[in-house]
């Protein structure tokens, strides 16, 4: 085990004690910068944190699995390449693609943590598991409607056949973390993969211990000996652990804390490129008066996006009414600039919809940081045009339950899956997809055209045709206005200064294979 720590304790004077005490009393807004211990480390162990218990079966897409997925498992593709938004080969060495097939040549010399060689049959086994509805995992909806089947052409080649032309072949395979068949039954408690670190132990509520996998396929990696994930529920306590030198990696940091930590020299704030996620308010089109698109449009005119981006989301990413950045190839400028903050226009639209005196409605919030501030700002503006918006806060489980049942008028969301392809964004967003749409758009007059376009966009690999299709889809999003986009949502991680060579990917799955600990 390579590990070398050098610890230097500085004497504690009364003055230092008092200074630290006073500074700590003021904590919450200002962190005392009093390093009394200088620690240098080489190799060794990285300590990450997680807010709650971890899940190890990567087929269940909860955020609780993000921190472990990239360490224990590998997929055929990931988002660790030069272009952060494009899948690059991980276990896939090379690949050829036709409209309806994908043939992948697998990397040689890859082993599972149990010592067995990784082969093409393992990909077949995992695709079979992904198409198994009885497990209740989320990958079923990705793989069953699209993949016809997979076959092992030879030991290192797998051919995947698709039911129709499908543009998201590689993107979907970034989600398929490979589990050896013999470990599938126990993967939730004893995870085995081909990742850079192997599972050692997990004490629920306490910590996860991972150890360097000596037979990892990428030469010279991983650089760390161990990774520990400490479970610390309290947001401020996680940050205190980071500042106190007991942790190196904290994610799910609230925007207000990110702003504060950006100026703290003890830590680094790593921000993935914006564009993959965005804040939005979703309108339930089956609830009165939102079945009328004039009312929905009025709501879009009533949002002061720059103010919300600044006061609620601390300007970590730009305000937007589009799902795309202007630099993105899918960006539709006309649709993306359709609205401005104009309360007079909003009031006129309400009058046109027969609601000159406004109406009463509510917005449901979960635990998404900044939502409450956003809702308060919006409610103040809406009050000026007679719309009384009440704010309903729900704890997470009740939030999703209520959302699923459709018992809400407007709901505040962070949408996206980190990927840019519109087909992926639509498939993975319950208010945008065409099946089981949670905004209940099926009864809207535009739905048949929208459905046809969504199926067209996902049923071809012709990029020019897809651009035309998604231009029209973006116009429908803007005109029909059942989502009120607010700002891009970036989810930074905060790491200690000793962590080197860490890049946070757009899909939010941390990979510590190339990460090092500096002095």
């Amino acid at each position: 085990m390579r590990q070398a720590f050098e610890t230097v304790e500085l004497p504690l004077s009364r003055r230092r004690f008092l200074r630290a005490g006073l500074a700590s009393l003021a904590a919450g807004s200002v962190w005392p910068g009093l390093p009394t211990r200088v620690r240098a480390a080489q190799g060794g162990a990285l300590v990450a944190t997680a807010p709650g218990d971890l899940q190890f079966d990567p087929f269940f897409a909860q955020t609780r699995a993000w921190i472990v997925q990239g360490q224990i498992f590998s997929a055929l593709f990931d988002y660790q390449g030069k272009n952060p938004f494009a899948p690059s080969g991980q276990l896939a060495e090379s690949w050829t693609e036709t409209d309806k097939t994908l043939t992948v040549k697998l990397r040689k010399g890859v082993k599972f943590h149990n010592g067995r060689d990784f082969t093409s049959q393992d990909v077949v086994d995992n695709i079979t598991r992904a198409k198994d509805k009885s497990i209740g995992h989320y990958l079923f909806d990705y793989f069953d409607p699209t993949v016809e089947g997979a076959e092992a052409v030879d030991r290192e080649t797998v051919k995947i056949a698709y039911k129709q032309a499908y543009p998201l072949k590689l993107d979907d395979l970034t989600l398929l973390y490979i589990i050896p068949k013999e470990a599938m039954a126990d993967v939730a408690t004893k995870p085995v993969g081909t990742g850079p670190f192997k599972f050692v132990s997990y004490a629920p509520g306490d910590k996860l211990e991972l150890q360097r996998f000596e037979q990892y396929w990428e030469k010279g990696k991983p650089r760390l000996d161990r990774v520990t994930v400490k479970i610390i529920a309290d947001d401020q306590a996680r940050i205190a652990n980071l500042l106190g030198g007991s942790a190196d990696f904290v994610d799910t940091v609230a925007p207000s804390d990110v702003v504060r930590l950006k100026t703290d020299k003890r830590v680094q704030v790593i921000t993935p490129p914006p564009g993959g996620f965005w804040y939005t308010n979703v309108i339930n089109t089956s609830h009165k008066p939102f079945e009328n698109k004039l009312v929905r449009q009025a709501l879009n005119w009533s949002v002061d996006r720059p103010k919300i981006a600044k006061l609620a989301y601390f300007n970590l990413a730009p305000a937007t009414q589009s799902r795309y950045l202007p630099s993105a190839p899918w960006y539709n400028e006309a649709a993306s600039t359709m609205y401005k903050f104009d309360l007079a226009r909003a009031k006129a639209l309400l009058a046109q919809a027969g609601l000159p005196n406004g109406f009463e409605s509510s917005i449901m919030l979960g635990k998404l940081a900044g939502s409450k501030e956003m809702a308060q700002i919006w409610a103040q503006d809406l009050a000026q045009i007679g719309v009384k918006l009440s704010i309903i806060e729900k704890e997470e489980s009740a939030f999703w339950d209520t959302y699923g049942k459709g018992e809400w008028d407007i709901v505040a969301f962070g949408l996206g899956d980190g990927r840019l392809d519109p087909a992926s964004g639509i498939n993975n967003s319950s208010p945008l997809r065409i099946n089981n749409n949670r905004a209940k758009i099926e009864s809207q007059p535009f739905f048949e055209e929208y459905k046809k376009l969504v199926l067209e966009g996902i049923g071809t690999t012709d990029m020019k045709a897809r651009k035309r299709t998604y231009d029209r889809i973006q116009t429908i999003w803007a005109e029909e206005s059942w989502t009120v986009n607010l700002a891009f949502w970036v989810i930074p991680v905060v790491i200690s200064q000793r962590v080197k060579n860490y890049r946070h990917p757009v899909d939010q799955v941390p990979h510590f294979a190339g990460t090092e600990l500096g002095a």
Partner: protein, 315 residues
């Protein structure tokens, strides 16, 4: 005494049974669904239905209850929905941490609260006693999460005297275990100590004005002998009740303190289970809490009999 304990344990059976029914129904009345939570925000109804089948949540409630009860009497608490681990193993894994915290906090309450309560009762006009009274009020009014974060920032982040979080068993690394216990026990013990001081002071003041103490003074006994031999023994009875209740609460888990100090105790287990609607964990933990309170009350009654021979326990 044995017949008394036996009778109390028999009385506990219907209490536990009724508790099991109430807990089973209540957690299901709370909005939320474990299958929805597990399936994630974008889950389709098919996915949710599949998970319901996997965890037998699609069965009628009486069937679910009887299945759970049947397994419970055989010692099988089921498997957690979220972690897929046996509930009994999860509880057993968390209990040592909770016991460490409970015992450590009780020690703080007794060692600090007991003597200070005596001082306040015996010398109420001393400046020290007045200062203790003020600190008492502050300790009672201080929110646990605020105190916890403050102690964490001061002693772990700024001064780095103790680690900010984590748990190690005292049997494995005694010194490290105690270092890790200091902040959580101080955080939890602050308000508990204040309560002990108040009860000790009030109880002792009352006893010190009773006839038998006046007689002891008249006999010329030294004050220290009166206090230690006569007053403390009688005055301790209400304090024992307070400590028993506090210990019961501590065994039930100190959710906020556990969250702040990353303490893997049963409080966090229960809170997370409620958040995830992990019904089997919630049910097991609620029954455990009821059993703990019954046990702690029985022990408190036994302590009464030991402290005051006039009290006789009848079955």
């Amino acid at each position: 005494m044995l017949s008394y304990v036996g009778a109390r344990l028999l009385q506990a059976v219907p209490v536990l049974f009724l508790s099991s029914v109430v807990v089973f129904l209540f957690i299901r009345l709370v909005p939320g669904d474990p299958a929805v939570t597990m399936a994630g925000p974008n889950a389709t109804p098919d996915q949710v239905a599949a998970l319901r089948r996997v965890y037998q949540l699609d069965r009628p409630l009486p069937v679910q209850y009887l299945t759970w009860l049947g397994r419970l009497v055989q010692g099988d608490l089921g498997v957690s929905y979220t972690t897929r681990r046996p509930v009994a193993a999860l509880v057993a894994q968390r209990l040592p941490a909770t016991l460490h915290l409970a015992v450590g906090t009780m020690l703080v309450m007794l060692v600090v609260g007991g003597p200070l309560g005596v001082v306040c009762a015996v010398r109420p006009r001393w400046a020290v006693s007045r200062a203790i009274a003020i600190l008492n009020a502050v300790a009672l009014a201080t929110p646990t999460f605020w105190l916890g974060i403050l102690l964490l920032l001061l002693f772990a982040v700024s001064l780095r005297w103790v680690p900010p979080s984590g748990f190690v068993s005292i049997t494995e690394q005694p010194l490290e275990s105690m270092r890790l216990l200091v902040l959580p026990c101080l955080t939890l013990g602050a308000s508990g100590t204040a309560i002990v001081i108040r009860f000790m002071r009030a109880s002792m003041s009352e006893v010190m004005h009773s006839d038998f103490i006046r007689t002891a003074h008249a006999k010329g006994l030294r004050e220290s002998a009166i206090v230690t031999r006569h007053v403390l023994r009688v005055a301790a009875l209400p304090v024992v009740t307070v400590l028993a209740v506090q210990f019961g609460y501590l065994l039930g888990g100190a959710v906020i303190t556990e969250a702040v100090f990353g303490w893997p105790g049963v409080g966090r287990l229960t809170l997370d289970a409620i958040g995830n609607r992990d019904y089997l964990i919630v049910q097991a933990m609620m029954l455990f809490f009821v059993a703990v309170f019954i046990a702690v009350n029985v022990i408190a009654d036994l302590c009464y009999a030991i402290l005051d021979p006039r009290i006789r326990l009848a079955g």
